[in-house]
Amino acid sequence: MTSPEPVSPDSGGPPPRRGAASPLARILPEVDDRWMAHWPMMLLGLVILYNVLPGAYGEYVVSVAVLGSMFAIGALGLNVHYGFAGLLNFGHVMFLMVGAYTTALLVSGRGMNIFLAMLIGAVVASVLGLVVGAFSLRLRTDYLAIVTIAMAEMGRVIIKNSGSFRVDPLTGSGKTIGTGGVFGVQNFSSGFNSFLDTTLPFVNSHAWQLFIFNAVVITIILYMTWTLRRSPWGRALRAIREDEDIAAALGKPTFLLKLQAFAVGGFIGAFAGVAFALNNNFIDPDTWLPIFTFRIWIAMIMGGAGTIFGPVLGAMLLQSIFSLVRFLPNIAASPLFGWIPESLVSSNRIFALQGMLLGLLIMLVVIFRPQGVLGSREDLILEGT
């Protein structure tokens, strides 16, 4: 699958070739082509698992896969920010939030077609990316992290406090839906669900329908990021990630490129928010806490930042681990693990237990395997200082 890369005057240096001495030659496209094998394998594995496991367990596995696929979309967007361009975006959840709210309000308030609304939501999110990027991308990496996380939190608080506002252009005049405030927005996914029922009449499980939809979205995004990464644009971004000064010296408009990457990642991230909203048929401000961003981060890093398929793999892996935590009460009830205090794993503590696991995973992965499952160590040399 490896064809010689076209030499473009735009590519920011010599064409990358394996084994070449140039620092830009580290950036190899071949390893990324494997997503075309990995992704169908994963889908096939899920289908087999569903058919092998007894009924209820099979359904559970699919519901886990639905959650995993939503995080995968988010992680794919973040991958454009961090994996491609090295931008430390710790407020990724704001793109999800904006995408979800825009879509939900347009559908519930204006009765717009869900797919059109989705697209508008993604465009709004990428415009937000441009605006946030315009003032924060000039800052050094860790400052960018601060500004983005603050931005996401403030956006959430604003939506939380804005329940009484009327957003007439969005909802149509006379309706007081606003952004839903603390109470959240509801009733926007019936059109989507009936669409799923008509297009997928042979699939009788709602979880499967949702998963198929997410899988289609993921496939499109995988193809998109794959193409982008091989393009001169993607290579220039990676040059920026490795050393922004060199990229600038080679004549790349680094600020503009980072801004574009920010917008593209936001565009993708919005779809994760929409998928989340459609799955729950309900969104409220407290869904979009910073911990949501960290989950996306750890999914991306676990799979391998900067690779094409890594974010999807990481998200599925993380969700699998999380869903196993759910079975801890059963495990603790068995005689072998009688020493685990029951109160520690009682079902109302599962969330906290998952949080604990997430925190520990973040530290362990970052310290011991920062390149993730699919990444290569060389591709992650990001010496900031």
């Binding site: 601060i146 996380i149 310290i367």
Partner: protein, 296 residues
């Protein structure tokens, strides 16, 4: 006029907490180049200790003392357990580690105590007001401003006049050179964390008196304005951090009082953030430019 003075005092009171947190962050950033998002968890620990002591009927003076001790100790322990392993690593490793610590502490309290907030009694005088020259001021604000002023003066003395302070500043200037001059890396970094923990402890006592509740996720909520204040001030700079804290407090109060119309106060944070964004466009290095911090 009365209105202006009232708002000013209110803003300074608000800014005091931000300034103390921002100063602690700036001290840690100076020695380690770490933006410590686990700094807020120091406050969470103090809050739960305060809750525990207060349900056992301890007086507020003792709670305050215990909170100071607990926060100092927590900061040192966090450094020893987590940050020592990633010292000198890349930005994203250290940042994610600090988030990891924050999440673990938060999850720990939700598992061990509860995910729901725990209330405890505030001191009785907290909402009292005094009249000074016909202006009614909150006792709380005056105490907070006074305590902050004393704390900042003490820190300034510590940094300028003691051996520890000098070595801390030297380490912040150039860590490697400071080590070559015989400054113990572990000691100065532990000291920096202890100092920042103590500052956070002072902030925690003030916040807890007003808030009177402990919940697992409070750390990051309280910390974020402090982080922003540190960035506004120019993260490497200690005086900049303090300045940034007060500026943020004043900006919040002013936006709420004079810029936003009635009923739109929920948008205060948004407007303040827009102001910060404008500041970053024109002066991305913050109030005080620091040569070695290379933020742009």
């Amino acid at each position: 006029m009365t209105d202006i003075i009232q708002q000013l005092i209110d803003g300074l009171g608000r800014g005091s907490g931000y300034a103390l947190l921002a100063l602690g962050l700036a001290i840690i950033f100076g020695v380690m180049h770490l933006v410590n998002f686990a700094h807020g968890e120091v406050i969470t620990v103090s809050a739960y200790l305060g809750y525990w002591l207060s349900i056992h009927g301890t007086s507020w003076w003792l709670i305050a003392l215990a909170a100071l001790g607990a926060s100092t100790l927590t900061a040192v322990i966090i450094e020893f357990v987590a940050f020592r392993r990633v010292r000198g690593a890349e930005d994203f490793t250290m940042l994610l580690t600090s988030f990891g610590v924050a999440i673990v502490v938060r999850a720990g309290f939700s598992m061990w105590v509860s995910t729901k907030p725990r209330q405890f009694d505030k001191p009785g005088w907290i909402f009292n007001t005094v009249k000074v020259f016909g202006i009614s001021l909150e006792v709380y604000d005056l105490i907070v401003i006074g305590v902050t002023a004393v704390t900042l003066a003490a820190v300034a003395y510590l940094l300028r006049r003691t051996m520890f302070g000098v070595s801390l500043r030297a380490a912040a200037e150039d860590f490697d050179a400071a080590r070559l001059m015989g400054i113990r890396a572990n000691r100065v970094i532990s000291g920096a964390f202890a100092l920042s923990g103590l500052l956070a402890g002072v902030a925690a006592v003030m916040i807890l008196m007003r808030r009177g509740q402990a919940e697992p996720g409070m750390g990051l909520d309280i910390l974020l304005p402090g982080v922003l204040a540190a960035v506004i001030g120019g993260l490497g700079s200690l005086s900049g951090a303090v300045l940034g804290g007060f500026a943020l407090g004043l900006a919040e109060v002013m936006v709420r009082a004079w810029i936003l119309p009635e009923g739109f106060t929920g948008l205060t944070d948004g407007v303040v953030f827009a102001l910060i964004a404008i500041l970053f466009i024109f002066r991305p290095e913050g109030f005080i430019r620091v040569g070695h911090a290379e933020r742009v």
